[in-house]
């Protein structure tokens, strides 16, 4: 089925035609290249992130250090003192509330502010949803049309919140690690951590990625739109333009994920070709994975970082290849139509293709990014299940900073279980884990399923909410489940199908996002506080070695079991049922 007859490279080379015709092999290789590049870049940045976590000197000190000190001096004593968890968390909450209030005012009343360029105002519930989702690093796109966003809404409100959310996440991870390292009961200062996150990590990377995007064809200008006269046709169309490249850069670097255009990274102006696709993928995965790898250097325990890397990458491999194979195979009703089928291209872009769409979508749910370069509604049921596999684990790699916190919740829980099983002392980095930490980590692990399943159950009891969805019932269940999973894990990708921009979903998602973000942060900081008062003991050899293969296995099993046990029943009603129906896996007309 090779069809490279007018191949520009000559068309006779065996390998060229082999890779062209064997799409499954080439796709697998492309995915492996993506994961390899991710690992390399994450490793390269991990040393730098470790320095930030330990508060050591870096090569950006001459510029970033001065900026940080400049702003610390402006804000005086509040930005200098070393605080306990309570004050740190309250500062963080007030800061986020302030940002949320400003954002809401500027967004809800956007037509009343300077250089609006629009006459459209958003409803209260949609404004609430959009502001909370950008504030919590979720970035659902219930708004859709960039022509309706004023210049200030696009920049000050949404771009501003994307920066703030990412830097808040990283600041919390700095405080958490300081809690483990410190013995004086203090976890740092929010102002300082926020400024360090912005000027040492997020802004420099964003500037770098912005430049790459501009050079690759992503637009960046000040106009609201340009009038286009399509060739040989009468109607003039408005093409929305604006600061797309900066938006894209912080969207990915900050693991935010809300698109400038309605179709997110599927829109060729956001993501013109394979190169930008790769850059976007790397930019939203590199800080989360780099932070995880940096833990080895931070705690002087390479084995620990290796364990986490192996566990996380195995989950990523599994879910990515599940999605890729499913998308490559399609579903029988479509493949049997007789066209040349090389993968489920419905809802995907030609310039990106099956394998790159699969790994991009999978990476976006593996981290809390939620960007999409393809339409998730048009994914096969098994492909969607691969993506949901990450969401039910509350985005294993997490967002900027929050990934470190999430993985520690699993680590504490796994250490506790493993220690109980083999009769050793539960210790993390030679600090004793007491009942308090177990309580908080367990609470934070059950928060996610509760936040998802309760509203999901309520929605299922009120069929009127999803009556407009024309799709088969199991698909509707998948979409609703996905919507809440995405909101509660602060991911922000969407399947859609039913109308999501309704008062019910806007408000429900908004509340879920706030709880999913700030309850977890509170619990995690409480653990940090509890660790901050304890000092490490000398290794006694009576504890679980966190670098050992046994612990890696236990951690893997713990993560998978928690996710699967919480969500298996609903997964069975949703994606599993669609899958089985599409492939006629039922015996004797059970359904």
């Amino acid at each position: 089925m090779s069809y490279v007859s007018t191949d520009s490279t000559g068309g006779t080379n065996f390998w060229v035609s082999f890779f062209e015709s064997q799409r499954l092999v080439s796709g697998t290789i492309i995915i492996l290249i993506y994961i390899l590049l991710l690992s390399i870049f994450a490793y390269l940045i991990s040393g730098y992130i470790a320095k930030l976590y330990r508060g050591e000197k870096t090569w950006l000190d001459p510029i970033s250090g001065r900026l940080v000190n400049f702003f610390i001096n402006i804000f005086g004593e509040d930005a200098k003192k070393d605080t306990k968890m309570r004050e740190y968390f309250i500062t963080l909450l007030i800061f986020n509330a302030a940002a949320g209030i400003f954002a809401f005012i500027f967004f809800y009343f956007q037509t009343y502010f300077p250089f609006a360029g629009v006459t459209h105002n958003y409803s209260f519930s949609l404004s609430f949803n959009t502001v909370t989702s950008f504030l919590t690093n979720t970035n659902l796109q219930h708004y859709s049309d960039p022509l309706h966003l004023s210049y200030l809404s696009k920049t000050f409100v949404l771009t501003g919140l994307m920066f703030l959310a990412a830097a808040t996440g990283f600041a919390v991870s700095m405080a958490f690690i300081r809690g483990i390292l410190n013995e004086n009961g203090r976890i740092g200062n929010f102002y300082r951590d926020f400024l360090v996150s912005v000027f040492y990590l997020i802004l420099p990377l964003t500037i770098l990625v912005t430049i790459i995007f501009i050079l690759s064809g992503v637009p960046q200008d000040l106009s609201q739109y340009v009038n286009v006269n399509p060739i040989l046709s009468g109607g003039i169309q408005r093409l929305p333009l604006g600061p797309v490249a900066t938006w894209e850069a912080i969207k990915n670097i900050g693991t935010n994920g809300g698109g400038f255009y309605g179709s997110n990274a599927a829109m060729p102006l956001e993501n013109p070709n394979w190169f930008t696709n790769l850059v976007e993928f790397l930019s939203f995965t590199v800080i989360p994975l780099g932070s995880i790898l940096s833990l080895g250097k931070v705690f002087n325990n390479r084995g620990f970082a290796r364990t986490l890397y192996i566990v996380l990458i195995s989950i990523f491999f599994f879910t990515t290849f599940m999605t890729f194979f499913a998308e490559y195979s399609g579903i029988p009703s479509i493949t049997s139509l007789g066209t040349l089928f090389t993968g489920n291209m419905m809802g995907k872009e030609t310039a990106i293709g099956i394998s790159q769409s699969s790994i991009f979508s999978s990476g976006a749910v593996f981290t809390s990014t939620g960007a999409a370069d393809s339409v998730l509604l048009a994914f096969t049921p098994a492909g969607l299940l691969g993506l949901m596999g990450n969401l039910i684990l509350n985005d294993p790699l997490g967002g900027v900073g929050t990934g470190v916190l999430n993985i520690f919740m699993y680590v504490i829980f796994a250490i506790f279980i493993t220690s109980l099983m083999v009769g050793k002392l539960p210790e993390l980095m030679s600090i004793k884990i007491s009942s308090k930490e177990i309580k908080y980590s367990t609470l934070s692990l059950v928060t996610h399923p509760l936040l998802v399943l309760i509203p999901f159950g309520i929605t299922m009891l009120l069929p009127a909410l999803v009556i407009g969805d024309p799709n088969p019932r199991p698909d509707v269940i998948s979409s609703v489940l996905y919507e809440f999973l995405s909101a509660a894990s602060n991911n922000g990708s969407e399947v859609g199908g039913f109308a999501t921009n309704t008062a019910f979903f806007n408000i429900a998602d908004g509340i879920l996002m706030l709880m999913g973000r700030f309850i977890l942060m509170g619990l995690q900081l409480a653990i940090a506080q509890s660790f901050a008062t304890k000092s490490p003991k000398v290794e006694t050899g009576r504890t679980i070695e966190t670098g050992s293969p046994l612990f890696a296995l236990m951690l893997f099993v713990t993560i998978i079991m928690l996710g699967v046990l919480s969500f298996f029943p609903v997964l069975a009603l949703g994606p599993f049922l669609s899958w089985a129906k599409d492939f006629n896996l039922f015996i004797g007309g059970l359904l």
Binding site: A98, Q220, I334, M346, G353, L377
Partner: protein
């Protein structure tokens, strides 16, 4: 927490939303326009101040002598999005796909169904995907050849089918690219192809301008 500290936090939030959210994108836009105006404005195709499209965005191309892009669920609208409201396994999707296949075959009667790439009969994610698989372009060459031949005849130019066909093949192989180095599949950009066709027609005087 003291009221003064709360006010400071509000100022801190507003200041950083302003610096990072407003100043940074605005300054970048000004810099980008100086740096590389063509790409910074969205790869627009401009002629005498009128914008005819973007190389990155498909259009309807409602003429039979144009390469047809992939079908669009949004009518090639720049502000719409998505591949329609239906899941892949909905009956509506199946019917849609059947209709799109029938349309493709009736437009290009010489093509066997097993040579139609599925991309050509499925909606793209953005609704404005300008790219089609190489085979999807080759499928359309016979139709476009015939179409070009007859429109040129109308304006009094008798150009042979074979020279038109070799022009189209050459154009397609000029613009073919891969969606990943070495391992990607081959595709062409219909906007680039169709502008080549337009320029050919303008060169022969068959049409006046865009």
């Amino acid at each position: 927490m003291k009221p003064k500290s709360v006010i400071k936090l509000f100022a801190f939030a507003a200041l950083f939303m302003f610096i990072l959210g407003f100043v940074y994108p605005t300054v970048s836009s000004l810099a980008a326009e100086g740096l590389d105006p063509f790409q910074a404005n969205g790869s627009l195709i401009e002629d005498n101040g009128t914008v005819y499209g973007s190389y990155l965005l498909a259009q309807a191309f409602n003429e039979s002598y144009f390469f047809q892009p992939r079908p669009s669920a949004t009518g090639y609208n720049y502000t719409g999005s998505g591949s329609g409201p239906y899941a892949l396994d909905a009956n509506q999707t199946l019917n849609q796909t059947r209709n799109l296949i029938n349309k493709f075959i009736s437009d290009n009667p010489t093509v066997n169904i097993s040579k139609i790439p599925y991309s050509m009969v499925s909606y793209s994610g953005s609704g404005v995907d300008p790219d089609i698989p190489l085979l999807g372009a080759q499928d359309q060459i016979p139709r476009i050849t015939g179409s070009l031949h007859s429109i040129l005849l109308v304006s009094g130019k008798n150009v042979s089918n074979s020279s038109l066909e070799s022009f189209l093949n050459k154009t397609v192989s000029k613009y073919v690219v891969q969606n990943f180095p070495l391992f990607g599949s081959y595709y062409v950009n219909t906007v680039q192809l169709n502008f080549a066709i337009l320029n050919l027609l303008i060169g022969y005087g068959a049409i006046k301008g865009y």
